[in-house]
Every structure is written in structure tokens, then in C-alpha cells.
Symmetry: C3
Subunit: 453 residues, 3 copies
């Protein structure tokens, strides 16, 4: 007989087979390359519209995805219950203190300017200025990220300790921005596969200088796209989008609803995927799609302590992809989830203390394992009645004492569940092993004509 | 992002909306009025037949339900496997002790006479008398409630301490009762609604001078009927019956089986609903009807420590309503359940120590919430694809920092589940709030054209 | 009202009814008879083929089953992915030590010879001999059971302490065996019932001198067969097979697949059923067949601490019976499971320390209860609407105080679930009693015309 430990040993034995090395997973070196890309993107001033988004997409296309297409949707276009907002452009923004010091300078840190601030030039007292300042009393050394996309206002964000130290006197406010009829930009990459069924990967490029949320998503997605494009074969086609959050996914759905609902079999939001502190999962609205099943399996095998969040704690584009009537099978795989780490949506979410090469590499690996499991999903069926005789095929020890031995038992367990009904992931879970440890085993049984995949 | 506590706060905020005050719930004042009615009914000597039942129904009709109809079924009538028993009338009953003292006087406490005692006039020794006495050794100060509806016998019930103190000697027994071919009485009130689908409320009027079991049921049911009749609108029709337990419900089912099975969508036994010690639930036989779902939700929100009993611990008319082949969706909502409190079926179950105004008011409130939830049951469906833009409707904060705020999040959560499949109660449970806290929210979303109810 | 304890008391009360004594269960005396039969079979040298199997089947037929048929399948016959191996015959086998002592003598203990050893006569050094010796370092006083059915080799098994004490020098090896084109033998007994639906009982006769695994299976199965044949009536027909493990069940399935899949409604592997240390259960592959449900119920009532094993820990002919495409409803009821007791597959698994008369009797009783529950399976339906009036049939106390009393409550509970949907075992589980305690109760209700079985 055998134990769970036996299974692990057996699985490790088969995993060593060179055949499983076909699709290499992300290494720390890949993590360092992603981290370098994130550093390059860091200072670009992104918002839900504007040249910052276009510059970001250009860098991603140049570094990873030559096939990335950039699309524009004019301001005012109706997209379901919304309209594309006006485009926002920033030339400069700062405050001059009474003693002539320049603070809250957008050029120094683009979080200083409240997102979508309307233009203003004025002088205010300290008291009048205060109504336009935003800081976090509980995190005095952090600049918060604050926006007002849909209501005209202006403001600055700064460290609370700096705010408290501001003296009385007259402050000069300079916000040289523009809101105009332009367009919203997004990037789309289509990687064809053997079928027209699709896997959707969605990330966002609307956050300015913050790391986990959200430079980790675009850089991991870009490297994932490059890896997918380099695979020798793909069963599924891949649709990869780089959007501004919410308005971008609503706009994309308004353009592609029918084909997405027809073709998408699985998919994920890629965000908050760069720290090394945790793995997290947010389900689709229904919670029982292929995306949910595969992600849970991979995360459980990667880190049994991964955090699983309720749908009630969502906050990204799954709100659109899983809305009633849309109902795409989209879940989220993350490292530390947005709103669940202290640096979230502040200047402290940076590329030193939060996002690391190891974190990014781990995030990319989880996605590679997940997409490979979706690619390899099947319902294997044994081709003989009763157990096959593994011994004559060199798959079973011929000296029987107290049981068949660990490796042989895993073959027998897989064969016993291979009834054409169980999926490969279900078989892996029944056998207590990660699904990737079954790939060489099922390939070998298929070579012997014992399994129809 | 938001927490469960945030939901509670959000729900409280929307509950303050004057629109939700449309259907006021029972107050302590109502409890006092019910208690007074119970005191008025207390001394009437009820049994499964007889003038005591008729007098009780007359009081209920006069005080609460002018439309209450009283029906009579002749003794001997076959009702399924049973027959209506003979009617029982009591003129007087007592025992004279050897020293001429009158004890066990039915006029002093109608529990003294064993229910359905046959007439007898005789003199007995202490020893011979003892075979006809009933007391509770474990509760020496209580007079037990004992009956013999279907086998002719006679007897007296008394306090055990009194029984033990009875001296030797000759005892004169006087039981001036009559068993004759009369009829069984029951009350029925029909309150029409917009549809012919019905909610059934059933209580019983066959217990003599005991409070929780069973004066609380008839008084709460009467006040509930008056409240229902006063509602500005009712989707459902209400069928409210005041029966003798078991034989009454069997008789009622034998008369109305086909229309009940066709029309009744939910219903409850109303009994043991007057104390302030607990809330309790007894399921329907199948346990998964609308009545079960709604009651469990309301009780959980009222008192998370409510006691949930197994079908095996039933003891009232659900035994008939849920019998195989009858299968009506009837459950029981109670305060302290029969047989689960020490005063049950004794003289100690009274209007001082067990049934109180606060207890009756709480019981009535739970039923009001339950029936309102049934009235408001729907499967709301959002009318747009993707999230609607709440901000332009004044339903969403326009300054976004770390999340939409508590009230707005509840709107988004309700909208995300409003797929035309989830019922309103299911949405409430998914969102972790009592369903009544969603009424003003869904009404407001419907006013904005965002929800189809 | 009533408690679980009340149910137990009620059930015991009805169990005393002489009607339930119709089918007596195994006693210790039966256990002693089975133990004697096992002693008689003990020394016969069994393997997956050969005269030892034939001799064993002959003893079983003579003692318990005159209708037992012995079948032969020629060596080389293709049976699904396997072929019937050559037949193995042993004349003698031993080793002569350097000082002329005869050790590892097959005539002394047939475990000494590695199963299916090819013939050899040779002289070897101690070192060269060692490659052909098998012992258990962790159990130095045990001779292990080792076989090599499908690869030609030879070897001896011995106690590890004896092996370590063997001196250097020349050893003479004598293995006078023969592998020839003969046949595989198995026994089959068919006991007809009122229907052609079948219950399959399968055990094996291929293990040499070991007790729990596997003489307990054949002896309990034989006594079970005799008990079945003596029943006054049987709804099901019984198909009882005595096979060599694995190759025997594969061969049997290759001959009877279509009729087995059509007729078999339930069945069990009978093995490891003779010790008194535990009760164990191994499910069918799907885990939800009638065999699973009934076995779990009986085991739970017999020993709530029974061990329930995962399908992953199987090791017997359920591997064939439950293979995909075969999918017979076969589970295993055992005492201590193979590989889960220290003496397993060694000379220590004997008729003193492991298998006892009490153990065998308990094993037989569990199977009797299980098969009787399958025989009595029904979906009872109450024949009246609402509760029947039990009092007029003498089934209900007529003096009602605080509830109907324990025995009457069990009648009411069974009637309340008798909706033509619940099986009798489901009703027993809902009522919290072993199903056999309901047999006299349902018979009595059926006699009164209140239940249709």
C-alpha cells in the first residue's frame, strides 16, 4: 500500500523525466528582468487616459510584444451605462509655500497631484488650501493615491507629517492640466492557437508610480505573453488586454461582448502579482468556473497557506467581466491582494520594499502553471477493461511483497480514475498530487496505448 | 474594500430611509395588548371540543378579526384514518376529602380535571382514589395537564405535594361531565390578496389554562391577522385557522386538501410564541421549503443563538401538514419550544413567569418580518450590462482613495448578484445583511431603472 | 418528545419481538467451526494456480457448499490485457547449509519458497545465495510472503534473525518445481433467488499459510453461502466466487462481463475478516453505490469507531470490479485491513494471534446484517393521508401527558418518512437506529395495512 508521502516521491520521480522539461518555468533571472522593466515604467505618469498610457504600452510592445495593438476610443463614446471621459493631460503641477519652496511637485512624484485635477492657478491661505490636501494620518510618511475621474475638482496628495508641518501664510497653487475631447487608449494582443476558444488575460495600465498595484500586472502579463507566443503549440488562443481599470474593461466589453461570451473558456485578471509575501485568490462571481478550479489547484500546490477571498472583497475588472449578463469565467490570481497590504495605493508601494524579482518570478510561475494546466486539461480514458498489466511494459515491479511500490501505485491510481469523466485536475486532486506531476505519466501511458487523452 | 462591519453600517444607513418605515413592527405596547387578551382568555375551559373553544373563538373575533368564521364538524364524521370524537361538556368536578374539604375543583383550576373525563359520582378509599390521580414528583408544586381523548377514563390532576399530604379515609368524587354527539369547532379567517397563492397560518385553541402552550399562539396569530388585514397591499392571500390540535388539522385537511396543495406556497404553525427566553425553529419535514429558508434567515438575524430543532422533535400540527402525500410547506417559528421549558404542560406555564408582553411582542415581530420577506420575495435583475455608473446618480462617492465606501459597496454587491436567479433573501445572505435592510436599497435602484424586481 | 436514547430503547423493545428472530446471526460456536475449517485449510500450499487451489476448493465444497463448481481456464488464454500464466507445481524445495542442515524447507512452511520460483539445483556461496533470500529486518522473527508471478526468478523467504546467523560456506539449493501449460482454477457457486438481480461475493484462495489474509475470507464466505442457501426466501440471487486474486477476477470478468453489468446490484470482496481488533471499510471506486450505503450503515451500528479507508488504499479485486468500463458496485467489508496490521503477509498472520473464533464470528455477523439489509431494502409508503390513529390499533398510549412515549414515537417517525421515496436504510438513519431494529416495526405496520413495502 502507499501513503501521501509515497505519492510525492513517485511524482518527483516522474517529474525528473526530461520530457517534462519541455516548458521551462520562470526563474529568478526572469524576475530580475521583470523588475528592470518595472523600474523603466515607474516614472511614467499614467492615468485612465493620456500619453502616459500610450508611452507605457509602447515600452511593453517594444520589450515583449511586437504584436501589441493600441486602440483609441473617443471621449464621449457611450459604453453601456458609461461614457468615455475626457482625456487628461498634465504639463506641470506644484505648490509654492509662503517662503517660496516648491512642494507637492508632480515632476518629483506624480502621486502628488490628485488624479484628473482640473487646471487652476491661485493663491490660498493655509486654511483654504487644506480642503484640497489629502494625506493619511495613520501612515504619516506615505503619499496617498487619490483620484476624481468623474467629478471636477483639484487637489494635492502629500505625506501627513509634511502636511502638519506646513506653516500659515499664502500658498501659490499651480496646476497646469487640461481636460479635452481626446480618447481612451488600450492595448490588445491576440496570440492564435489551434482552436478559436480563448483564454483572456486582463491587466491595467492606469496607475501612476506604484509597484504592486499596478506595475506588477503589466510586466508579468507581458512576460507571460512572450512565453505563450514562444510555446511550440497552443490549444487555445490568447486574448491579452492592457486597459484602464473599470472604464477600459467596460469599453472593451461593449466592443467585443458577443465574441467573448462565445469564445472565452477561462481567464484571469493579472494584478498585484509582484511581492513575495503571499499568494491570493479571488474567485469569479459564480466561483465554479474552469478558471476557479485550476487556479485553486495550482495555488494549493504552490502555497497551501494561500489566502482565498470572498467575491465581496473584489475591486477590479472582475466586477465587469462577471457582471450578470456578461458572466465571463474570470478569476484573479495574485500575490498580496489590493487593500490587504499596508502600502496599498500609497507611495510606499514601491520596487524596493514591496515588489521584488523573487515576487515577480513567483507570480509569473503560478500563471505559467495555471495556463499549462488549462492547455493540458482533458478527460483521459483507459483503453482496456480491468487494470492493464503494467509489469510487461516495465511499469510495475515484478517482485511483489507488500505492495506495488510508490511509482507504480500512482500509475494504477491514475488509470483507476481515467474513466473519460474525471478531468486531469480532478484526477490529480483525487491522487493528492499537483497536476503537473501527472503530465509525464499520462504521456507515457498514452505512448503505451493505455490512455486516450 | 469593505468588511462585514461595513455592510452592517451601510445597511443601517439605508434602513433609516423613511421609505422603509412603511410597515411598522410590533412594539411593547402591542405586547401588553396581547398579554391583556391572553389574560381574558385564560380562565375559559378549553378542550378539543366544547363551548370553551366557541367562547375563545368569539373573543378573538370580537377583539381582532371580525371576519373570523366558526365551523362545526359533527361527532362521528370520518376524517382520513380518524373520526371526530364526541363533544365534551363539563358542569362541575371536584373531590371531597374525608374531612369535607373540596379539592381538585375544576372551577378553581381547570387543569385539575383530566381532559375528557367521563362522568362519575362515587366514594373511594385513599388507595383506590390514587389510581385516578396524576401529579409530577419532580415538580411537586405543579398541576400537570393530562388528557384521555380517545379512551374512556376519569381522573384528577393535582400538585404532588398536595397528593402526598392526602390522608387515609373515604373520598367523594364528583365529575359532572357529558360526552355526547355534538361537534368539533374551529375558526377560519381568509384575507384575500392580489393572487390566489396562499400563506397558511395555523394555531390551536384546545389547551385550557396554560400560557405559552397555548394562549400565546392564538393571541399572536390574531394580532398578526389584524396587521395583515391592515396592510396597504398583499401579494398573497392568507388563510388563518384556529383548530383543536391534531384532530382539528386532520379534519381541516380532509375538507380542503386539494386547494391547499394547489395554493399554499408557505406557512407556519404559530405556538409557544410568548416567552422572552429564546427563539426556536422546527423545520418542515423536507426542510428545504420557502417557509424554512425565510424563517431561518429571519431568526438568524433576530437571534443568532436561536435553537434549531430536528424534525424528530416535532409535536404539533406539522405532523399532519407535512405528512407524506400532504406535503404542505409548513414550518414552526417559536419562542421556547414545547417540551423544552420546565413549566410546559403544567399550571406553572402562566402569564407571570413564562409569557410576558416583551415575549409576545418579539414573537409577533419575528412573524411580521417573516411574512414581509415572503411578500417581498423576488429575483431582481440588473437592467444594464456591466456595473451601472452609480456616481452620476448620486449613489457613489466621487473621490476614490481606498475603496467606494460602505453604503456604495452594498449597492454594488446587490447589483452584482441581481442576475434574475438569486432570490432577494439569497442576495441578503450572500451580502451578510438581514433582508429587510435591502428593501429601501432595491426600491431605490428600481426607481432609478437599474433593477427589475 | 423524545431523545436519541429514547429511540434506542424503543428499538430494543421492538427488537424483542419474536418476529425478528427469523434469521439467526452467527454465534461464537459458528466462529469456532470456521476456525476449525481454517486450521484444516492452513497447511495446503496455495498459489494463483495449482493443486493447492483445487484441494482448497474441494474442502470448501465438501464442508459448506455442495453446489460449488470448479472451473479451469487454460494457461495462455487471453483475458483482457493479461494472459493466464503457466501453472505452478511444487514437489519440494529446501536449502542445505554448509554443515548439512536443511533450512527454508517448503514442507515445513510453504512461505519459505518464493511464489512461482523456477526449478533450480545448484550450490552457491553465502554471498551469492544472499541475492535470492528475502527477510524483514524490522520483523526479524517473521517469514515474509513474496511472489514473482510474472517474471521468472527463484528465491527463499526466511526469518531475518535466521538469515543473519547463516555462516559462510557453500549452500546447496534444491527447488523441484515445474511451470507448465496447465490451467487456472476457480470456484463458483450460484444460489438462485426470486429475481435474476444478483449480489456478488468474491474472495480469494491464492494465499498459502496465512490466516487473516487469506483464509478468513474463504471460510467466512463459505459459511455465509451456507446461511444464504438455508434462508427461507431470497429476493436476490447470489453469485459467490473463490478466485486467485487479480488474474482470477480479470479472467472471471472476461467471461461474464455483460451479465454481471446487467444483473449485479451490489456486492463485496470478502477478505481480512477474521481478527477481533477492528472493523474496516473500503468503498467502491465511486463510493456511492448501494453496497457502500448499506455497508457503512451496518458498520456504523456495529462499531462507530470502524476504520474507513480511501479508494487510494485499495489492493484487492475491487481494482478490477470497479475499473472504468467495468464499474460493478463492489465494496469491501473487513476486520483489520490488509497492510494495516503488523503481521500482514508474513508467517505471523496465523490462527492463534491474529484470527480467532470471535473475530470470524463478528465478521460473519456483519455480512449477514449487510445482506439482510440489502434483501429488505424497500421504499415504504404510508397508505393513509395524515397520521394514522395508532391508539385504536393498540400502538399508542391513550393517556397523553408530555408526549407519546418512546416506542410510539418511533412508529410515528417511521410513518412520517414513509413517503415512497426514502429507502428503509435512509429512514433508519434519519431516525438514528440500526435498520434491523425497524424490521419488526415495518412488518407490524404492514400487517395493519398502514405501510406498503
Amino acid at each position: 500500500m502507499h501513503t501521501a508521502a509515497d505519492h510525492a516521491t513517485a511524482a518527483a520521480a516522474v517529474a525528473a523525466n526530461p520530457a517534462t522539461a519541455a516548458t521551462p518555468l520562470a526563474t529568478l533571472q526572469d524576475g530580475q528582468a521583470m523588475h528592470a522593466l518595472a523600474r523603466r515604467l515607474w516614472p511614467i505618469p499614467r492615468s485612465i487616459t493620456g500619453d502616459g498610457v500610450r508611452a507605457t504600452l509602447a515600452v511593453l510592445r517594444e520589450t515583449c510584444m511586437p504584436g501589441l495593438q493600441v486602440h483609441e476610443i473617443p471621449s464621449g463614446t457611450a459604453v453601456f451605462d458609461w461614457n468615455i471621459p475626457r482625456e487628461w493631460r498634465v504639463r506641470e503641477a506644484y505648490i509654492l509655500t509662503p517662503d517660496g519652496q516648491r512642494i507637492c511637485d508632480h515632476a518629483v512624484n506624480n502621486l502628488h497631484l490628485l488624479g484628473y485635477s482640473v487646471p487652476v492657478r491661485t493663491t490660498l491661505s493655509r486654511a483654504a488650501l487644506d480642503a484640497h490636501l489629502h494625506s493619511l494620518p495613520d501612515q504619516p510618511d506615505a503619499i496617498p493615491f487619490v483620484t476624481s475621474y468623474y467629478k471636477e475638482r483639484w487637489g494635492f496628495c502629500l505625506r501627513h507629517d509634511q502636511r502638519e508641518a506646513l506653516p500659515d501664510g499664502d500658498y501659490q497653487v499651480v496646476i497646469d492640466t487640461e481636460l479635452f475631447d481626446g480618447s481612451l487608449s488600450y492595448g490588445e494582443l491576440l496570440i492564435p492557437g489551434e482552436t478559436t476558444q480563448e483564454v483572456l488575460l486582463s491587466t491595467y495600465v492606469c496607475h501612476p508610480s506604484m509597484a504592486n498595484n499596478e506595475l506588477s500586472g503589466p510586466v508579468v502579463t507581458s512576460f507571460l505573453a512572450a512565453w505563450l507566443a514562444a510555446l511550440p503549440r497552443r490549444r487555445y488562443s490568447y486574448r491579452i488586454v492592457f486597459l484602464p481599470e473599470t472604464i477600459g474593461s467596460i469599453a472593451y466589453l461593449s466592443r467585443h461582448m458577443e465574441s467573448l461570451r462565445r469564445n472565452v473558456v477561462a481567464g484571469y485578471i493579472v494584478n498585484c502579482i509582484g511581492d513575495d509575501r503571499a499568494y491570493s485568490f479571488l474567485p469569479s462571481r459564480r466561483g465554479d468556473t474552469l478558471s476557479d478550479t485550476v487556479a485553486r489547484h495550482v495555488l494549493q500546490a504552490t502555497d497551501p497557506a494561500y489566502k482565498s477571498y470572498s467575491w465581496l472583497l473584489r475591486g477590479s475588472d472582475e466586477r465587469q467581466y462577471c457582471a450578470p449578463g456578461v458572466d465571463l469565467p474570470i478569476a484573479s490570481i495574485m500575490r498580496s491582494k489590493y487593500a490587504e497590504y499596508p502600502e496599498y495605493h500609497t507611495s510606499l508601494d514601491d520596487l524596493e520594499r514591496v515588489v521584488t524579482p523573487a515576487g515577480l518570478a513567483g507570480g509569473l510561475r503560478v500563471f505559467q502553471r495555471t495556463l499549462m494546466a488549462i492547455e493540458r486539461q482533458c478527460r483521459p480514458r483507459v483503453t482496456v477493461l480491468c487494470e492493464p498489466q503494467l509489469g510487461k511494459r516495465g511499469l510495475y515491479p515484478t517482485l511483489s511483497g507488500r505492495g506495488p511500490g510508490q511509482a507504480a501505485q500512482l500509475y494504477l491510481d491514475v488509470l483507476s480514475y481515467a474513466d473519460g469523466g474525471h478531468t486531469l485536475i480532478e484526477i490529480a486532486e483525487l491522487c493528492g498530487v499537483p497536476v503537473w506531476e501527472l503530465y509525464p505519466l499520462v504521456d507515457r501511458l498514452a505512448e503505451h496505448g493505455l490512455l486516450a487523452l
